[in-house]
Amino acid sequence: MRTSLKIGISGVRGIVGESLTPKLCTSLAQAFGTYLGGGLVVVGRDSRTSGEMVKGAVLAGLLSVGCRPLDIGISPTPTVMIYAREARACGAVTITASHNPSEWNGLKFINSEGLFLNSAQVQEFLDIYHQGEFSLVGVDACKPVINDDKPSLPHFRKLFSYLDVAAIRKRRFKVVVDCCNGAGAIMSARFLETLGCQAVPINNIPDGAFAHPPEPLPENITELCRCVVSEKADVGFVQDADADRLAVVNEHGEPLGEDMTLIIAVQHILARRPGTVVTNLSASRAIDDVARQYNVPVVRTRTGEINVVERMCALGGQVALGGEGNGGVIIPAIHPCRDSFTAMGVILETMASREMGISRIASMAPGYCLVKRKIPGSREQASRLVRLLKKNYEGKASLNSEDGLKMEYPDHWIHIRSSNTEPVIRVLVEAGTKEEAESALEAFLSEIEELKSWK
């Protein structure tokens, strides 16, 4: 069955007016507050128009179980996470549906270290939610809501102490940034200006009126591409609605593809300080190639930010960076979370230190092409399909079934998995060239179309 409600490891997402009701949000917040046992809880949101409604319900839920909510208003997800840790909060809630369309919204739950709840913590928290027994407090334990209208400060402190600000400032880059009227709009221009860039922000009003679908795919960012050319900018950046992911447009107005963000970051960070790279199964083979140059291992995990982050935390100091192919760069020295500001900073830093244009930097990366497709399908359908495929491909390819099914060949790979956030099945194919990848994808899609019995 397809539903418009997703409760899982990435938090809760639903469609406003259908599945994401005030009552659901309040109950979840009560469960979360009960799980934390009260205390300071940071609450931030992206710019969606449903944000106020959801926030009211979350604040009411937290207050009812004796938490002291600290409302930081519209804030990027990484900003909320860093704020939570720096404020020594017991936890945080960020209200976002990330890259989903505007009718969606959701909640993500963050622990006292500023990390998303891991799968075990999510289990415990959902257990409380399902039991429905929340520790309601009487009037003597009722707390007020506190507000902070400068939520970006802790995040900026972290970024600017990590980045080589002087080197970037020297270059006076001209940068077009498309905030998609999302949460990034509260601080992206300021961030770039502090780095000495001439910032040209577009879609820079955080009112949730998404100028294009908030997923930073090439087809959604034509305005940015045009603007980079007309402004004669050095680079263009586009954030998703909660500013944890970043895609890059080169100085000719050509999108580099979301997966290139991480590849460039890996090249740069390993040159700065070699160390283990942690990424998910769907990220490009280019990462393995780069890591091989520096003789460092690449550790692969299931898809989902928390899976990557958990492995990073487990491996500790040996990790240089982590990330996902969807434009999520994670640098533990800043904060173990996907962060579009980290990604922007690192890309500007590499442009500054290598003294090259972004198109040249991208062209020097190992050449692969990743193509992605979404097909409608529930989790159950996905698992039926994966079982069928596993049988069919036994012995024909090297198989990895940690997360859906990944079929690896010497010259390409195919990864099929159920989405954590939407009722779709994702198919990813990577090959040496766009043509090879497209033809492998088409062949694979028509193959599963013929299988039928999984539907």
């Binding site: 469609i15 406003v16 007016g17 259908e18 009701t21 005030p22 009552k23 949000c25 309040t26 109950s27 009560q30 969606r48 128009t49 449903s50 106020e52 409604m53 959801v54 926030k55 009211g56 319900a57 604040l59 009411a60 839920g61 207050l63 009812s64 505007s102 009718e103 919204n105 309601l136 407090v137 009487g138 009037v139 003597d140 009722c142 707390k143 007020p144 809501v145």
Partner: protein, 446 residues
């Protein structure tokens, strides 16, 4: 015992027990669904539980597609005034009035700025019970907004309603105890507008109640002590949302909250004659005042919504209750503590001291007792008393009543708490007290 009281004008209970965010969401969603569209004004008193109810109301109203204008901490009469002044569709007041700090309540206000009447209230309750709420899609969600100058608009209108020049000229010094409720801090604005010097005590909007926020004699000691030192002209106590007040003339002249309504009625009928409305349990002092002025008097069930409904129906010029709430429809159809204070000050400015105004009323002694009682037993218990205590009891619209010749006895189950209220009035205080004690002895468990 689960203390939850659902009435036509709203819902009242103990926070953390019966007042949960889920209940608040359901009621506010029902109200938002009933209104169909906004804007809806929300305001609250200073209770520590206020933010929780406030956020739940905000979320629920937005989810039903109503725009919300948030007045923050705001006395209920000012919220009601602003609803009608700005032609909003309705309002929710988050305040438990005189109840202790553990309580909180939602009161629903219609576009006229009055509590929902019985028909409207029943419709909202039907929606609540059905749990069929508007759940709009994202493009129809309500938006939040603000009104900047609502306090000034209110006080300007209030000043133009009373004889502000006389009040200013009189140069009165008053002491007001807002019990750290919604009237705190705002009361200074009131004094400035009317040109009297206000000494405000318990004047922080922090929700810490130094005493029960009930305007009555036992809570007036702080005010009367300050008055004595400062030789102040009048003292006032307000409840937590400034819908009700009690008056203090001096330390030696104890004046119960029952004086508020007849005193203001006497002053106001001088200015405008017409029908007077009160509830069945209010002191007969007001009957005497109305009779003296040749004005008809109507009695209703207890509670602001009933009194106001009848006031509008009978085209009355004033309505009020013995608990200290007074409404003058020409100003606004709502119990309004600020207006009440202003009318008292106006009467004083014309030359009489508050003590003299009180002495000009026909004195009656009303003894108010209450007996705790479990809710399921409450109605049968009242009926048992009727059989045990000799006399010609008759049913009223709200509880039972016995006329004693020199006064009356009235028994009624409370609408807001699990209590039976026993009110006995007589020309003699001793007789009233004796009778009340007699009645209480009939209660089986005490």
């Amino acid at each position: 015992m689960q203390l939850l009281k659902i009435s036509i004008s709203g819902v009242r209970g103990i926070v953390g027990q019966t007042i949960t965010p889920e209940l608040v969401l359901n009621f506010a969603s029902a109200f938002g669904t009933w209104l169909g569209e906004g804007p809806v004004l929300i305001g609250r008193d200073t209770r520590p539980s206020g933010p929780m109810l406030h956020q739940a109301c905000l979320s629920a109203l937005l989810s039903t597609g109503c725009d919300v204008i948030d007045l923050g901490i705001c006395p209920t009469p000012i919220l009601q005034f602003t609803v009608s002044h700005h032609k909003a569709r309705g309002g929710i007041s988050i305040s438990a009035g005189h109840n202790g700090k553990d309580w909180n309540a939602l009161t629903f206000i219609n576009s006229d700025g009055t509590y929902l009447n019985s028909f409207q209230g029943e419709e909202v309750l039907d929606l609540y019970h059905l749990e069929k709420f508007n759940s709009v899609s994202v493009e129809k969600l309500g938006k939040t907004g603000h009104i900047a100058d609502y306090l000034k608009e209110y006080f300007d209108t209030l000043c133009s309603f009373v004889d502000v020049n006389s009040i200013r000229k009189a140069g009165l010094l008053i002491v007001v105890d807002c019990c750290n409720g919604a009237g705190a801090e705002i009361i200074e604005e009131f004094g400035k507008c009317l040109g009297c010097q206000v000494i405000a005590i318990n004047n922080e909007q922090n929700g810490y109640f130094p005493h029960d926020p009930e305007p009555c004699v036992r809570n007036g000691q702080q005010v009367s002590s300050v008055m004595e030192v400062l030789k102040a002209d009048a003292g006032f106590l307000t409840n937590s949302d400034v819908s009700r007040i009690s008056l203090i003339a001096s330390k030696d002249q104890a004046m119960s909250e029952e004086f508020t309504f007849p005193l203001i009625t006497q002053a106001y009928l001088e200015r405008k004659k017409g029908p007077v409305v009160t509830n069945v349990m209010t002191s007969s002092m007001v009957d005497e005042v109305a009779r003296k002025m040749n004005c008809p008097l109507f009695r209703t069930r207890v509670g602001q919504s009933h009194v106001i409904e009848t006031m509008l129906l009978e085209d009355a010029v004033i309505a009020g209750e013995g608990s200290g709430g007074v409404a003058i429809p020409e100003f606004q159809p709502a119990f309004d503590g600020f207006l009440s204070m202003a009318i008292v000050l106006e009467a004083m400015a014309l030359g009489a001291s508050l003590g003299e105004l009180a002495e000009s009323l026909p004195l009656r002694h009303l003894v108010k007792e209450q007996v705790g009682c479990s809710l399921p037993r409450i109605y049968s218990l009242v009926n048992e008393i009727k059989k045990l205590y000799p006399g010609e009891w008759h049913e009223t619209s709200d509880g039972i009543r016995l006329e004693t010749g020199t006064g009356w006895i009235h028994l009624r189950a409370s609408a807001t708490e699990p209590l039976v209220r026993v009110y006995v009035e007589d020309a003699s205080r001793e007789t009233a007290r004796e009778r009340a004690e007699q009645i209480i002895r009939y209660f089986p468990y005490w």
